[in-house]
Symmetry: D2
Subunit: 344 residues, 4 copies
């Protein structure tokens, strides 16, 4: 059987590297191009020595050429730039899975508010499908443009949408506190991210107005079928390479108990291959999920305050970015959804 031809535009960052890992081991695809303006001409397997078996060379990001070679194109590009590639690629018939934020927010005004620029391709927003398979699986199967969710977002949406859908929790007064490893900042060379400034350092950032917030609220409102959700989201940077943990506090739905919450999670994820609901009393730990496409979810009831406490862990680069992108590719290409994503 012929393999699907795929390309990565923007292949030298951490998400690009993780895409590479997952696509090189994927039995159903052939990686035909990886772009990097800066590294064009270099052998990919030399740039990423752990994938030294990869003989491809980085090429410049030329849309024509990529479109002529690949059926599915992953965009691992900065916000704002991604949509400039998406438009011509879609026109030339490629399917596009965009790991940036460009197509995640349905309302371009919200995009403009949070990303401080006019949306570069608002006419495409209506055809973008939000790439969280556990929420939009059917729509994704026929999608031509996938907006791959943010990393923090995935860690919060997976547990919380399950609760909201069954009214096991209220959409009001939600508080999410997250911790992220440093690859979450990308391969960013700045003083804040050198080793001695991160190691032995614990710090919040973006605790008001983080860019992932409107994306979380948009999807929670859609799930809860309410006009809007307004919540607190407090991200923190901690000294690990990979992993995101989110702790979420929620008001139980009217008349609902922990049992209802657990049933909602079970109902949502009992059959999901990449979501693992922990047994009662257990909380999530990122070390159980790093380098996997898994999301681990624990749920407790705090009788002291009457709140539900949800704990979820993912790998920011896998289920939080590139693993989820490959899961989406599996859906749009008709592969079994777990292809290439199981135990690694």
């Amino acid at each position: 059987m012929d393999k699907i031809k795929v390309a990565i535009i923007g292949g030298s960052g951490y998400s690009g590297e993780e895409l590479l890992r997952l696509l090189l081991r994927h039995p159903g695809v052939e990686l035909v191009a990886v772009t990097s303006r800066e590294n064009a001409g270099k052998r990919v397997g030399d740039f990423f020595p752990r994938y030294s078996e990869c003989d491809l060379r980085f090429v410049p990001p030329q849309v024509e050429e990529i479109a002529s070679m690949a059926e599915v194109v992953f965009l691992a590009l900065p916000n704002g730039l991604a949509s400039q590639y998406a438009a011509p690629l879609l026109e030339k018939g490629c399917k596009v899975i965009d790991l940036s934020a460009d197509f995640r927010l349905r309302d371009p005004a919200v995009y403009e508010k949070y990303y401080k620029m006019a949306h570069p391709a608002p006419w495409l927003l209506s055809q973008a499908v939000y790439g969280l398979p556990e929420l939009y699986r059917e729509e994704l199967r026929s999608a031509r443009l996938v907006a791959n969710p943010g990393c923090y977002v995935t860690s919060i949406l997976l547990p919380v949408t399950a609760l909201l859908r069954e009214k096991a929790a209220s959409p009001r007064g939600i508080v999410a506190m997250s911790m992220s490893g440093v690859t979450g900042a990308g391969r960013k060379v700045s003083l804040d991210y050198i080793f001695p400034e991160c190691n032995e350092s614990l710090r919040p950032y973006g605790v008001t107005g983080h860019r992932h917030l409107p994306e979380i609220e948009q999807e929670l409102a859609a799930t809860a079928q309410v006009p809007s959700v307004t919540m607190n989201f407090l991200p923190h940077l901690v000294p690990v390479n990979r992993g995101i943990h989110s702790s979420v506090l929620l008001e139980p739905g009217e008349g609902k108990t922990l049992e209802d919450a657990r049933e909602a999670l079970e109902k949502a994820y009992g059959q999901e291959p990449f979501v693992r609901v922990l047994e009662p009393g257990k909380l999530a730990d990122t070390k159980h999920v790093t380098r996997t496409n898994l999301c681990e979810i624990g749920c407790l009831y705090d009788s002291h305050t009457g709140k539900l406490v949800v704990s979820s862990a993912i790998d920011n680069l896998t289920k939080g970015a590139s693993g989820q992108a490959v899961q989406n590719m599996n859906l749009i290409c008709g592969f079994p959804e777990t292809t290439g994503l199981l135990i690694s």
Copy 2:
């Protein structure tokens, strides 16, 4: 001038080690005894090579002997055991600074609920002074039994009491999310704490019913002059050696603004040597305070949800334990409060 003679009972754990560091460099005290049942006879400076200049030898924890030598005794012992030493030491005229939880909770029933044992010395509770100098400075000057606060507790009480006192924040609906380094668990040899299980791991624990919760609530209620405070406290374990960061969400007090909150913090801490209120927009980072007795506090207003977001950082072993204990000692001994605790 004669130096005050001090002793440490329980000197082989991390708090004991930090006490040692601070007392050995303190110009006003002479450390006359450090106990360790297990290491009795060993030279302290060999057990802790970084304090190799210390010629003392560990002795067994014999109350009579300690009491005959020392005026002030620090207890760095497990909960429940500490109070067994406190009673006879007090009787023999020593002043006692207890780093355990034994004298922190005013109500022995609460102690029993959270520590799963009857309080071993309830008759002493009334004379114990809660050892947070920024709250109880005057009472501490004449204290004979100091209940040194918990580490998480200190990081939360310092910012939050300042806000509650001025009604800049409401005592209702408070949520605190904290991250602690692994020394917070003590020198504990168990699978959960070996390096490969902690490194590259992010995990919550004790998110319902953590033992530090009643201590926080007791002091917040006292400050707010309300019968009780009920709040959420979510602690997490992260891979650093030292440091606690707490992010706290609060409802502003009626009619109060960020400006009021900042004024409340300035009023409380403008003259405090160990609390640093960050300039507007800045958040706390543990790497600024490790190995110091400082607490760094940032405060923002989230216009999206109408909440105050407070960020505070301390070193769990210094301001969170032994540094605070020495600050208390300075108070009860009449030394200038910063003696031995400035830049290190």
Copy 3:
């Protein structure tokens, strides 16, 4: 085609966990049993949440039962205990891949000297094949008992044997300095290995008489065809989870140059799937090989002292233990050697 049935005896340590990862994703095998005395009855996928899809339950290590189910058995057991399982398993017709040190040393007297016990099954030594495929590939194809090499050993033998074989380096005066991550100590619960004692700590250990030394010397002597090799081996413990780096200083062979050394490495590894010789001037970095079965090798000439400097990096749990064991299994089972071991 029927899959080969395999079992792991001693499945709850770090090597066992890594074996699990590699065997669960291996297309040619069915994992039929994983033993753990302590965890018997527990679901393997619960004990190791990252392999939550594994439905097996730990069983006690009963030889009869294992032998009736599995064709190939991996022993991930303490030294001394492994050989007690190897004997009856071999008798019952299983092929055995032993990750302990029990069958690595050809001379039981050397075993006794370094492991402080009489060899428990010296009569089996003659049939054991040393499991370094790059050295003993042909013998391994028909082996029934494989002595999987030590982790440090692999990192040193791969570069050095290639040089000795071509006389590009002298077998005299070799000095190897290695650094290992903490999983190298196993899942060992002791004060030396808790997080705060390892993090921010750099320390040598076993710099005289380390147990891996005789194994290195035995294989170097065999390769160099000299009666014995006597060298220095200096291991160090450093705060990473996984990875071993070895720096080796060697005298060039008589009349040999860096060019000869590089040719020797190229000759040995140009076609090897798991050994990557770096381009001139480059040195190995463990982060390029963690969680892979790769060994990265760099080689320089120091004109100042006239020595060759070799740098090699592996993952101590993969190429240094379980990955190599699976590579050996591939050989003895007739699978392509890289099956299940490529990009992960």
Copy 4:
């Protein structure tokens, strides 16, 4: 008594920060100026929040002004730049302690070879005193220009000179292998040093021709009273913030034993406040010395190869840079040598 007035030129890097820590707590000095071209005007205590009590503001590095204020000036500047400041400062009567490499090598030709530039002030070399107090204490007392040693250098010279001086070891065939924390690279913003590239990474670098090599060889030759020493020095970068560990292999001197080596170390360091010779069998660990001015030394004999194995640990920023600089200042100012440098 009047305090000595001191200034730091180049105060915003890691060595500058450590100088700040040590000078602020030093009872005999008043810090009158800290320069930083980039941060001129900023309050030092805001730039380094852990020293928030420091009210100085960074000033531009103007020699005239500094010279009019300070008696002793520390230069924490890049190589090549430092000597441009040293010359006019000396002329104006300041004493200069230079933390760069500019005055460490007696032969400007060697400087040119290793630092790839002509020496900027060769006429000053003859008056520079090498700032290792344990070697040059008497000369330092009257020095006006101190060449503070390199960090790796200090960790190797302390154990090895003691052995060479007593002929307990031979100056031939020495091999030193070192590991350094990432602050050793300075506050350097480059891809190689961002957290995800350093964490979980072990790598050698500069294993031929490292700039610290000629400095080590120069001092070893001087101590051994031989024309030159030629040795191997293999540095490695490992994921800790602070600390250097060196393992050194040496041939015992003719007819000398481990006992002689230990006696040589005892003789050299029995009375030294900052060097701690470990008891037989023990090896150095950086965690015992970080943030102290201590050097910990262990020494073993390897009967297998007949070599001495020396293990030494320092903090690269303290005894390896700024602590040593303050120790030198104590000498040239006539303070007791340990002033401000004991337990911290």
